[in-house]
Symmetry: C2
């Protein structure tokens, strides 16, 4: 099968599995208090690529075919990702009116509801992850690592430095700090959880960790480039917004050509790193290529 078609088909299948879990887990829209549940569902089903769950499920599948075991964890990670987008879009942080081609949560439901819907998704993630039929020690480890790497040792620290840097010219060190924490960590953790649950060996975990760090960075560089080069239709958010507001982006710090080159080199490195895993890592290899070439 053609590599691109194989990936597309696999992503679609896993997206559907994750969507089923999310739909079953989240309260119905008409459950009291309605607006909270409407807002949560609105953002969760706003058409995300489900990249993080895909990574979790694909890493797991390399070592264990019983994929149902990991889907609650994968879906929980997607809820955490959605929480971070809702809070990030709020006027107090990034003030974005659009997300994934649709109005952002607070634009529709108001800021108070969006704030609470974000909180609720973060909490729901832990509720769901603890339900996974995995060893209790592993679930404790997942909760611990997520809480840490989404919190003060990761995503939130990244968001904090991001808002502090608004309107300032940032240096390379700060740029990397923001994006490693805001984006790359959760992407890496998604892979790690799949591999841990699948009982990958120490050296396999190490390979996936290196791969995860690299594609996490590529993901963000491409995001920054799309913000400049994409058309609004393809991307579904206000184009050029990051550049305009002098935000910390790769093209702003390295220039456009250098950012493209960086993304290509990192992708190549990520694919090379997978080599010792052989055929087992085929999907991750195709994914690295896809993340570099994506248009949305």
């Amino acid at each position: 099968m053609d590599r691109k078609i194989l990936l597309k088909k696999d992503m679609k299948e896993k997206q559907e599995l994750v969507n089923i879990i999310l739909d079953r887990f989240l309260p119905r829209k008409d459950e009291y208090p309605k607006d909270l549940h409407k807002a949560m569902r609105y953002s969760v089903f706003a058409g995300g690529k489900r990249l993080r769950p895909y990574l979790t499920m694909t890493a797991f599948e390399m070592f264990n075919s019983n994929i149902e075991l990991i889907t609650p964890v994968a879906a929980g990670i997607e809820m955490i990702h959605t929480y971070s987008l809702i809070h990030d879009d709020l006027p107090d942080i990034d003030n974005d009116d659009f997300r994934r081609g649709k109005k952002s949560c607070h634009t529709i439901f108001g800021e108070g509801v969006a704030l609470l819907a974000g909180d609720a998704l973060l909490l729901s993630a832990f509720e769901l992850i603890t339900l996974a039929e995995l060893d209790a020690k592993l679930r404790v480890q997942f909760v611990h690592e997520l809480a840490k790497e989404v919190g003060i040792k990761g995503l939130i620290a990244g968001q904090m430095v991001d808002i502090e840097s608004e309107g300032k010219k940032v240096d390379k060190k700060t740029l990397h700090y923001i994006h490693e924490n805001k984006t790359a960590r959760l992407i890496n953790l998604s892979l790690r959880f799949g591999a841990l649950a699948g009982e990958a060996k120490e050296e396999e975990l190490k390979i996936l960790d290196e791969y995860g760090k690299l594609i996490g960075l590529v993901f963000q560089i491409v995001d920054d480039l799309l913000d400049i080069e994409g058309t609004q239709e393809e991307l579904g958010k206000t184009i050029g917004k990051d550049a305009e507001s002098a935000k910390a982006t790769f093209p702003a710090v390295y220039g456009i050509a250098e950012s493209h080159k960086k993304a290509e080199e990192l992708t190549e490195k990520a694919r090379e790193i997978l080599a010792p895993l052989g055929e087992k890592a085929l999907k991750l290899d195709i994914l690295a290529e896809y993340l570099l070439g994506r248009k949305e």
Copy 2:
């Protein structure tokens, strides 16, 4: 020893134990990114009574004297409580400039930082609770129940209905829904976790659950009454604010005299319920009296 002095001494000792854990766990004020850590510490050490950790530790102590086992859980619950106060005070929700006699978090650090500090405390709570030296299954259960009862099945649902009810005349059913969810659940869970970790028997858990529900309600009624009757100095927040803004409060729905009567009756009932536990429940008995008579 005089009952009041006994309680005061015991609360102070446990407060200190919790404060030590919180101080050790939270990043220093000068750690990067500083404002995030300053804001977290500011709100955590703004002079709370540490009622919830007190309940956890006191319930645990009824069945197990090795109190260090439960302090990370107790401190985690206090961080969750603090998170809920920070987000509740934000302009998007309650818009309160004062809390515990001090300026609220966003008034000092700005809304974006306060939002992130709240998120970070919620996450840190899970990070800390999973570190407790308790059986992994119990830790998974704690995370699960907290995520649920702080989230869409509890605190956040209560906050949501609270903001929806702003400026409207609420009925008794709505009032109880808001306060059971916003306040009583976490108070009850605090007791429950102590008792569960102490390996209380099923009938003991049941007694504490009934007691917890009652004092949770008393706590909120007294809070509402203090908002009307307290002096600003005693209470440390803008007096009469809840009444002015037509918020859902017990005095607004039941009247002042009836609210006092209700609080007294519920307290009496809570104390009666403890009877089968005998001497073991002495501190909780004194605490019920204290919560009824508190002036701050």
